[in-house]
């Protein structure tokens, strides 16, 4: 079909192209990526569904305002590299965002086709363009501006830190990224599993940044190994961006939470993803042996879905999601819920744990739960779950994973008291510049918003980079 000569009516008649994926039965036993990516034909066909609105409202739904209509047209026209480069004008990590953005709440929600038809699969197309560019070895290193002589330190190598570093290095600043762990990438590496986001893709982006001249120092905890003040005063950094994420797991504070077999999602996912304990004993770090066991994950977000699907892949007989509201309220991406169901994850909705119970050796044997029903809407507009009296029962489980969110790690705030923080310990910034209350210190991503999304973290990193650049260049005159 000639992309140039199809009518709107014809476009609207094209069905949304299904993303090919691994068979659910097979994939629930492996860690390879679930989604296989569009073929060229599928991508072009999907791109033709876009009616090229005069007022492309999809763009308003994207936190970084990617020129969605333009990149999709480039795909329809067969200019895939052009499409990738168009996306990269606004989003430095498209292969990642195409995979993990909650599109149904963002760009695809505002797409005009969403109401009467199905929205254009913007995320899938974004992924296609980025993968095409990378797989064909066509990623071009951007040009780096002449050196400015300014030094910037970036704390944390998650999406916020990486995008900030990427922009600053291109503007000619000397950028050093300090990362607490032994591996770079933040949640993209230790949280989101391989089957959803291949680590190779994250590492390819980081390799690109190294080529541009970003210096990465792993094993370096700001606040412990070095403080913000030392970086500014002793090590000569002109500005600092803090992108340390929200990495302090919440527990529920119910009895039995310290029994053996009770994990935070962070611990479980870190052991499996970062420490590769699914390859025990070839890798030394062990993790609970899920084989044939019953595993319950408490929570309804992306982290909970990642944890439960990981437990299934490690051999769990029953893998449950236990959530206190109903499925409609679950914050996880729709696609993940759908995939989880296909893989045999059991969803226990409107259920709240009261206590964990264990045996003589203190190993977990069950979770005492209460059934809930939906009552009046609360402040957030979601209907509040209320307990059904006398509905307690014990769900027999061998492993429990708590996935009810993260607070912010207070290490930097504690050692840098002049950075203003909120009651929740998040760092307070001016949202136009991401500047903190401390001169020359900026912050963005989950450490500012609390647990949010990759694209918001990335956007914050870029906003900060622009503000830092402006400040440094003004100071230099």
């Amino acid at each position: 079909m000639d992309a140039q000569h199809i009518t709107t009516k014809e476009r609207l008649a094209i069905p949304r192209q299904q993303m090919p994926s691994q068979d659910p039965v097979i994939r629930s036993h492996n860690f390879q990526e679930v989604n296989l990516g569009y073929t060229i034909e599928q991508a072009q066909r999907e791109a033709q569904r876009c009616i090229q609105c005069k007022d492309p409202v999809c763009i308003k739904g994207c936190p970084v305002n990617i020129k969605i209509d333009q990149f999709i047209k480039l795909i329809a026209d067969g200019n895939f590299l052009g499409a990738a480069r168009k996306i990269k004008e606004d989003n430095v990590l498209p292969a990642i965002c195409g995979r993990v953005c909650p599109q149904e709440d963002q760009c695809e929600k505002t797409c005009v086709l969403a109401k009467k038809y199905t929205p254009v699969a913007i995320g899938n197309l974004e992924r296609f363009a980025a993968d095409y560019e990378r797989e064909n070895g066509s990623v071009e290193l951007p040009t780096v501006q002449p050196a400015t002589g300014k030094k910037v330190a970036v704390i944390g190598s998650g999406p916020a830190g990486l995008s900030c570093a990427n922009d600053l290095v291109q503007l000619g600043h000397a950028v050093t990224v300090f990362e607490a762990l032994h591996e770079l990438g933040g949640v993209l590496m230790y949280g989101i599993p391989e089957f959803r986001l291949p680590k190779e893709i994250v590492q390819a982006e980081i390799e690109g940044m190294k080529k541009l001249g970003v210096v990465f120092i792993t094993n370096s905890v700001a606040g412990r190994s070095v403080t913000i003040d030392e970086l500014l005063e002793e090590e000569g950094f002109d500005a600092i961006f803090i992108g340390v994420g929200a990495g302090l797991p919440w527990f529920m504070g119910i009895p039995g939470e310290n029994l053996l077999g009770v994990y935070s999602a962070n611990e479980f996912l870190t052991r499996v993803n970062l420490m590769k304990s699914y390859q025990f004993p070839d890798n030394d770090t062990p993790v609970f042996n899920c084989t044939g066991k019953n595993v319950a994950v408490f929570g309804g977000g992306n982290t909970a879905m990642d944890a439960v699907r990981t437990a299934k892949r490690l051999g769990a007989e029953h893998a449950y999601i236990v959530y206190r509201r109903s499925e409609a309220e679950m914050p996880a991406r729709l696609e993940e819920v759908h995939h989880a169901k296909e893989e045999g994850i059991e969803f226990l909705m409107l259920m709240n744990p009261l206590e964990f119970v264990g045996n003589e050796e203190q190993w977990l044997t069950g979770a005492k739960c209460l059934r809930m029903e939906l009552g009046e809407p609360d402040d957030s507009g979601r209907r509040r779950p209320v307990p059904i009296k006398g509905s307690e029962f014990i769900l027999p489980v061998d492993m429990a994973i708590i996935s009810i969110g993260n607070g912010s790690n207070p290490l930097i705030q504690q050692t840098t008291p002049d950075i203003e923080v909120s009651k929740r310990d998040t760092i307070v910034v001016d949202i136009n510049t991401m500047a903190t209350s401390k001169e020359s210190v900026y912050a963005g991503g989950d450490i500012v918003t609390g647990g949010a999304t990759v694209i918001l973290a990335m956007g914050a990193g870029r906003t900060a980079a622009a503000a830092i650049h402006e400040k440094l260049m003004a100071a230099g005159e």
């Binding site: 607490a180 762990l181 032994h182 792993t218 094993n219 370096s220 905890v221 412990r224 190994s225 070095v226 990495g247 302090l248 797991p249 527990f251 504070g253 939470e257 310290n258 053996l260 077999g261 994990y263 935070s264 962070n266 611990e267 870190t270 052991r271 420490m275 590769k276 025990f280 004993p281 070839d282 890798n283 030394d284 770090t285 062990p286 609970f288 042996n289 050796e361 203190q362 790690n409 290490l411």
Partner: protein, 281 residues
């Protein structure tokens, strides 16, 4: 990669390893630890910084071969490297002039207590050290401990050297002799720390222990290291590792430390085939 500058056995199965880590050497305080990863497929394990030389840019670790990771580390020699080291982590020991401070170390706990004993001495305390070992060959750091102590005692379980008995018996003896003790630091196996807590409890002496839960990141990100103190959950890697001995739930700690026993055995067995006797003196 971080270079090992020297590696010597202090006793059977206990090795002192000095590693190049200039930033850590400069910053570390008594009571802090590092997380290390020996090789690319190794676990992250916590080890206390026993000593440091900021000029040389090195830190020293004293390691007891327990299972795979510590034995693999103890196979390393001068000139070798380890893959990762991060620190200093944990809240430094709370040091002040208490008056008479007793530092009690059991086994490799002696090495963990050593830097804090030094700091207690520097803060002007009258320092008494009691260091226990199973037998004479396993006594470590004796000269170092004597150098920082106003009174130094060694105890051995079998009586082959020093006081015949447990560290708690020596502590009780001191208390019975009417000595005023203002502060006790106890570091060693969980049963020892629990026993010390029971000795000092009736006297109301402030007693601090350094807990050794299983850790992963060591930065407060995973919650795996949680311990129960005063009926509250604390993350030992950031809130500790030192806690008020009279408030610690030792049973929960010792239960939780058994979480991976079958896996630890498996790793150790596989490793034994590779490295046999090299771990021993």
């Amino acid at each position: 990669m971080y270079k090992i500058v020297s590696a010597i056995f202090l006793a059977e199965n206990i090795k002192k390893i000095e590693i190049e880590a200039p930033r850590i050497a400069k910053k570390r305080k008594a009571g802090q630890f590092v997380m290390i990863r020996v090789g690319e497929s190794s676990e992250r394990i916590p080890l206390t910084i026993a000593d440091s030389d900021p000029e040389k840019g090195t830190i020293s670790l004293i390691v007891q071969g327990m299972g795979k990771s510590t034995r693999e580390l103890n196979c390393k020699a001068e000139g070798d490297s380890i893959h990762d080291i991060v620190g200093p982590l944990g809240t430094p020991s709370h040091i002040e002039k208490f008056g008479t401070a007793v530092s009690i170390g059991g086994g490799v706990g002696t090495a963990i207590a050593y830097p804090t004993a030094v700091a207690l001495k520097e803060a002007g305390n009258y320092v008494i050290t009691i260091n226990g070992a199973r037998s004479k060959e396993l006594v470590i750091l004796e000269p170092e401990m004597r150098a920082v102590s106003d009174e130094a005692y060694i105890t051995t379980d079998d009586g082959s050297y020093g006081f015949h008995g447990f560290v708690t018996q020596k502590l009780q003896e001191l208390l019975d002799s009417g000595k005023t003790i203002d502060y006790v630091l106890a570091i060693g196996p969980i049963p020892m720390m629990r026993a010390v807590a029971e000795v000092t409890r009736p006297y109301g002496i402030k007693t601090v222990v350094s807990l050794n839960p299983i850790m992963v990141d060591g930065t407060g990100m995973c919650g795996g290291c949680r311990v129960t103190v005063d009926n509250q959950t604390k993350f030992a890697c950031v809130d500790g590792p030192e806690f008020d001995a009279h408030l610690v739930d030792f049973k929960n700690l010792s239960d939780r430390n058994k979480m991976y026993l079958p896996e630890e055995r498996k790793s150790a067995d596989l490793f034994a085939h590779k490295c046999n006797l090299n771990t021993l003196k």
